[in-house]
């Protein structure tokens, strides 16, 4: 549920965890990011930075500049002035990311895990079975059949947690146990009901269903999309995956390597909560792509 009164929980001398509710819920996450934007705009003296997540915001502050109590009351006043959720609309660019499903890169990673750590079923087979799909083609069709909402950013630099906006495309997946010691940069992962693009070569626990040659984080800031910022995605942005074959994948990879790949982004796109709710109401949940 979304709490009537948000909770302000202390995290030592310089952090507060503001909990707005206790479930995974799109409306609640939208509220978290709308409030985070309002707090940032307010430029409260002594507030250092925010870590917004699914249902909460961790706030770091300098207690020599603002007290816990004053920061709490200032944030609460912004929260109370937010207005109705239904009326909220925000600029929400859509990033198009090409994916080669059931690819060679993640297959090699899975084989390496089986050889060195423990035998396990091929990741896409797990998703197909668990979600009652008829094969890899349907897995790709469903995974690429919806826009995703960036619900959180972090864990590792540039890692975005993505949730499906079309409830008919929501999949579930268990996590690797034990986790992998490495995952290739660009791996498309699925864990719980969250999907992601691995921003770098890192350990990981999500099932691997595909791979993209397109980077989502670049600390060297070499490609045009990273000139302003080294992480591509922000909470409140959207992602749309589109399936590509090996030939197109190789072409895109060559453009990335050459340093002239242009990310495909609809920067003009807005997101209206009212329109989204109305659309949800028209869906037949028994339909499947």
């Amino acid at each position: 549920m979304i709490y009537d009164e948000p909770k302000f929980l202390p995290g030592g001398d310089r952090f507060i965890e503001m909990e707005l509710g206790d479930e995974l819920n799109f409306d609640l996450n939208f509220l978290v990011h709308s409030l985070s934007a309002k707090i940032r705009e307010a430029e409260i003296a002594g507030l250092i930075e925010l870590l917004p997540n699914m249902a909460s915001i961790v706030i770091s502050y300098d207690p020599d500049l603002i007290s816990f109590a004053d920061l709490k009351s200032e944030i609460l006043s912004h929260y109370r002035n937010m207005g109705s959720l239904e009326d909220m609309e925000l600029l929400s660019p859509i990033y198009y990311i090409p994916v080669l499903y059931c690819d060679h890169v993640t297959r090699a990673c899975w084989e390496d895990y089986c050889a060195k750590i423990t035998e396990k079923e091929y990741d896409s087979d797990i998703l197909v079975k668990l979600n009652d799909l008829d094969g890899y083609a349907q897995l790709a069709r469903i995974h690429s059949g919806t826009e995703y909402w960036v619900a959180a950013l972090g864990f590792y630099p540039g890692l975005a947690s993505l949730i499906a906006l079309d409830p008919r495309c929501r999949l579930t997946a268990p996590k690797y146990n034990p986790p992998r010691t490495w995952t290739a940069k660009g791996t498309i992962g699925y864990g719980g009901s969250v999907t992601c693009v691995y921003p770098a070569n890192t350990p990981g626990g999500y099932q691997m269903i595909g791979h993209t040659p397109v980077p989502v984080c670049d600390i060297e800031q070499s490609l045009p999309a990273f000139k302003q910022d080294l992480a591509l995605l922000r909470p409140g942005d959207r992602v749309r995956f589109f399936p590509v074959g090996r030939e197109e994948y190789d072409y895109i990879e060559s453009r990335v390597t050459a340093g002239d790949y242009v990310h495909n982004v609809a920067h003009y796109a807005k997101f209206s909560i009212r329109a989204y709710h109305e659309w949800l109401g028209t869906l037949d949940m028994k339909e499947r792509f």
């Binding site: 929980l9 202390p10 995290g11 030592g12 001398d13 310089r14 952090f15 507060i16 965890e17 909990e19 206790d22 479930e23 995974l24 250092i48 930075e49 925010l50 870590l51 917004p52 997540n53 699914m54 249902a55 909460s56 915001i57 961790v58 770091s60 207690p63 020599d64 816990f68 959180a152 950013l153 972090g154 864990f155 590792y156 630099p157 540039g158 890692l159 947690s161 719980g192 009901s193 770098a200 600390i219 080294l230 992480a231």
Partner: protein
């Protein structure tokens, strides 16, 4: 302007460039602040050589480096005792000294504490990344090419006006434990209501041993079992199956992050979010103790209020100033 350089002869164990308070403003993108663990000793070293307290300096961990000065420098070492020698002669801690061009500073293994800070007048001048020179090894960024020192590496240093013979008053230095036991402050929360009253008491009354599986990302602790409230055991499925699982949330620095039955204190290079609860948080005033403790050391936790934790931090900040200096 030419840059006086320092050449790395031996790198030591993950010796890194750090500054204080580290990287701000990128936590929400997944970059934790980084910076020195014992920021009290770190700042004192900088003050001794005439730098700003937060300027970039070296954090030496457990086994120190060997460094050759290419130009004359004024330096200071604070923190754990690594039996430092300059040109073969012992070097005192907590004091600024002059190094001549061509001299070698050699640090050994930590005899007391775990981390020694080396500040150089003029401060280390590596390129800042997102506003900070702190090294974030896990993210391959900051410091010297995003990595610890390497043999043959060169550390650029700015022009400085350091004065040798300045000393930190005894009363203004952190007191490194000699019996390998530390009283560590904790504040309750943010998720203390997931642990039952018996579990909270057990945490506060028990000895906790620092595990060898610890680094600047997190310190693992070994100790008794945790027990939970209804909130942890009877919850919506999206929280995950283990009592310590919750919906993904951001992690405060210092949080005691409970992964199953293993508590991990999250340090300045932490992963920034995850799906485990944080029942207690270690405040900034105790970080010097974390920085100077080593695997096998015992922690006793002391519950303090947020106000008390803030007051203790102010007291340490007050000692990170020119008032702490005397002439040797």
């Amino acid at each position: 302007m030419t840059m006086p350089m320092i050449e790395v002869l031996k790198p030591g164990l993950e010796t890194c460039v750090q500054d204080y308070p580290g990287r701000k403003g990128a936590f929400g993108m997944g970059f934790p602040p980084s910076g020195p663990v014992d920021h009290w000793s770190f700042r004192l070293a900088n003050i001794l050589v005439g730098n700003a307290p937060g300027d970039a300096a070296l954090e030496c961990q457990f086994i120190g480096p060997a460094l050759k000065f290419k130009a004359p420098a004024v330096i200071a070492l604070c923190g754990g005792d690594m039996a430092a020698k300059l040109g073969g002669a012992p070097v005192p801690l907590w004091q600024s000294i002059a190094a001549e061009a061509g001299q070698v500073l050699e640090l050994g293994s930590a005899l007391t504490g775990a981390r020694t800070y080396l500040a150089i007048a003029g401060s280390i001048d590596t390129p800042p990344f997102l506003g900070s020179r702190s090294t974030f090894v896990l993210g391959d960024c900051g410091g010297l090419n995003g990595a610890p020192l390497e043999v043959g590496g060169e550390i650029p240093v700015g022009e400085g006006q350091g004065v040798p013979g300045r000393k930190i008053k005894q009363s203004c230095r952190p007191a490194v434990s000699e019996n390998h036991r530390w009283q560590i402050e904790v504040c309750a929360g943010p998720n203390d209501d997931w642990i039952d009253a018996a579990g909270q008491q057990r945490f506060l009354k028990s000895e906790w041993k620092l595990s060898p599986k610890s680094n600047r990302v997190g310190f693992r602790l070994e100790g008794p079992e945790w027990t939970f409230t209804e909130k942890a055991t009877n919850k919506a499925p999206e929280n995950g199956s283990d009592p310590s699982n919750t919906i993904d949330h951001g992690y405060p620095i210092g949080a005691i992050n409970l992964c199953g039955q293993t508590p991990i204190i999250l340090l300045h290079d932490t992963l920034t979010l995850g799906g485990f609860i944080n029942p207690f948080t270690v405040p900034s005033s105790a970080f010097w103790k974390l920085g100077q403790s080593r695997p096998g050391d015992i922690y006793d936790f002391e519950l303090v209020s947020v106000d008390e934790a803030q007051a203790r931090k102010r007291a340490i900040n007050a000692m990170c100033s020119e008032d702490s200096i005397e002439q040797a």
